[in-house]
Amino acid sequence: MKFVGSWGQIYTRWIRRLIPPISMMVVVLLLILMYLISESLQRANQPEHLYLSLLGLSALGILFLAAVVLGHIIRLVSNYRRGAPGARLTARLVLTFVGLTSIPVLIVFYFSVSFIQRGIDSWFDVQVEQAMSDALSLSQLAFDGQMRTAMNETMRAATQLKGVSGDLVALDLNAVRRNTGAHEMTIFGSRNLIVASASDDLQAIVPSRPDETALSHARAGKDFIGLDPGGGDSMRIRVVVPLTAGLTGDGSSEVLQALYSISPRANQLSSSVQAAFNEYRSLIFLHKSLKKTFTFALTLALLLSLLTAVWLAFIAARRLLAPIRELAAGTRAVAEGDYSLRLPVDRRDDLGQLVQSFNTMTARVRRAHQVMQQLQEVADQERDYLETVIQHLSSGVLTLSPDGRITRNNSVVTQLLSITSQHIDGCTLTEICQIYPHLEPICAAFGHLLEPGQLPAGATVEAQVRIMGDAGRRILLSRVAALPADDVTGGFVLVFEDVTTLIQAQRDAAWSEVARRLAHEIKNPLTPIQLSAERLRRRLLGNLSDEPAQILDRSTQTIINQVEAMKFMVNEFAEYARSPQITLKILDLDELVSEVIDLYKGGDIPVLHRSVGHPLPVRADAGRIRQVLHNLIRNAQQAMTEQGCPGSDEPEVTLSTGLHQEGGLVLVELTVTDNGTGFPEDMIDRLFEPYTTTRPKGSGLGLAIVKKIVEEHSGMVLASNVQDGPVELQSDIPARGVATAKTGARIVIRLPFALPDLPMDTNRETASPKSSVLTGSKEDRPETSPADLTSRHNAPRDLFRRMDDTRAESDLDHSG
């Protein structure tokens, strides 16, 4: 892989750079070769190997050029398929260039080939050919006379030599040769061995031998005569005749060969005729090949032209399109979001200006993009800020998409609606109401408004919804608003605000005002009415007869009783409306409860006390707390007296004291439970309001006063019914007594746990219902060390532990 990588680098760095100059050199070389081939076609006296070498070199050069062009074409096709920038334009330019060059080249080629074909054909003429043949025949005829003479002379010599014995033949042969005028005379014996030979050339060692045809002719008894071209320019007449007459060709007979020279002039003329004849014949034979050769040379030139044209077209297209390709690549980069690209401007023509404009455009787009990014960041920050604000609102916020699905919520909304946020994301309000049935009032109030077109954009609908959550009944001031339709998201926003406490406070304040006015306006005339009634009774009762006296007695008694009752009621009102100064002291609630219960000992309905056995310090006004205990015990006893006790159980009232932990805060808890019929369900949430009573003779102020006093002590009071089983809804204290109560009413009071060493605000006005004993400004308290604070915080927890231990060890203390 490394090798391949390095090879790729070498190719990119060197070969790709070197190919164009090499190609140019090859083209020049090919042009030279073409010229040389053309020259060699015209010249006869050329080196033997030159032509084929030139052709081979040309073929190599053209192959190289073809490979270069093929490489360009393959790369172009690959780029074209890949959709590389500039590939289509390159292809079009190359095709245009090639078309422009190849058409004239092909036309020239066609006409050149036609011209060669016709031109070479026109060299030959039938008459010339015939004349040449005739000249050759004439030359042959010119030798006929000499040949006949030579034949006669040879036959005569053969006759002379017939009678000569073998040894003397060699001696006579030279004389016979001289007589006949032969140049050379040889006798061949059996197996073609030379028997004797005579020649006028003394330097010739080996006599010329006839070919097998001539010998076989002679041995067959026939005479042979023919022209012998010899080796050089001198032709000779060869005559072969049998020497021994009557013998068959069995190889044993002898033959005589005589060679006669031809005159030099005749030789010269015949050679000239033959040379011309040969040249013309060879031209006729070669004319087809010659046409092919010229066509081949032209084809080489055509190939060279075309390949050079294509190659130059590629080079030109590359040079021309380089800036356009860069522009296309740049545009693609910009389209993919890369604005940092800056193209080099290295030319001053129109394309250079185009590149310059592109760079300017890219720079502007980059700036605009940066601004957009900054704006986006600002928008994101604002959105995050808004998100943070929404999360920290005291109101619960829900945003819904146009199709009614929840897109966003803050943590308060889950707390207010007693739901978990993971259940509501992407749900519609109806779906949430199906999951959480206690939210049905919200759906009833707003469900139909979230339908498309029901709520116009910008419109707001407000409603007060009462739901029952984990922390009891809540009154939510709910508001739905349709977001503007041109907003990015549109949809709705739902805002919930917990107004339970506010409404309760308003209601309490109103009742206090009513009570104060009633007490003031009614109490004043009551005493004169009572005095007047007593005076009428005292003065008139003795003076009247029996009947009127009885009427007067009953009437005045009724007036006096009713006025007394009215006074009691007005006093209670006054008590409710009164805001006396309370004196807070640390006292043991457990002990106080025991004291109050002692007063009820021996009553019809027993009062039990379940104590933890440890002091429960609270910061309270003992008198007010006593009133609370009296109110609660009396209330329970009266309720059970009037309404009875369900089942066969004996009525009883139980007061439990203990500690309660809630959200890291330790509270002292007092629970008053009876085993009566309990509170009516529809009255539980209004139980502590004035004039709310289940008894016919009740004023409805007892529990209202209890609540008022408890809230003055920064405590809280809760009412509930004891349902089947020992279900401790409001208290953590497991109680054996409670376990027996099947039904009944229960009121729980929780007061802040008082730490003994905290400074006491002895003359505090009525405390805020929400204020806690541990919540006070720093200025209100003396400086305390962190260790002190830690020990103070740990004190209730230690108490808890001790309580748990005690519960495990001992039974509850039942008193009363």
Binding site: F277, N278, S282
Partner: protein, 214 residues
Amino acid sequence: MGSFMLCWKKTDRAADRNSAAASALSVFLLLALVLLCAQAHASSANIQRAHAEIREGVVYLDVDLKLVLDKEMIDAMRNAIPINLSMISVIESPRDWWLPNEIASDQRRYRLEFHALSKTWLVTDTLEHEARSFSTLDGALHSLERIRAWPVTTAKHLEGRGPLVGRVRMVLDVNKLPLPLRFPALFDSRWSLNSAWFSWTVPTVGAADRGDDL
């Protein structure tokens, strides 16, 4: 009817395929025939025997070969185009993993031509400048097919060379052909008169074979 038409169409298509196959086959056969004919008319040179012996310190080689000339080639000679043939003999010492080392080489060149005036065939040994005329082409070819006592090298030159291998071949000298024939002759089987290399046994050089002993 529909099925018939379908079948008919199928038959038609099948017929088309058959005809296409038939034409392809005929083209193939034609090509094969052309090639076969070309092969039948091709020229060839095959060395059938080569024997060497040392006489008087000289290595003499006798070669028998078979020459077949194509009609085109004979036609060319009848039209005054001579054929030049070279007989090449090489004696080599083989080497492992490398080309053999050439110890000695010799060449004999012949020209075969037709003499129009005398209507004879002329065989010329161009190196020895010896010419012999023949009445027939067969006679001329026969003289070329039988090479006798060709002195390829001296025995002394081969002494102490280890095992040697002799090779001999005949080639057509294309560069001596007229220009228009040179390029076609390279690829035309009618002009392929180059024989394959024929190996012959190089005789072992004995003491008596050394020329200096004589």
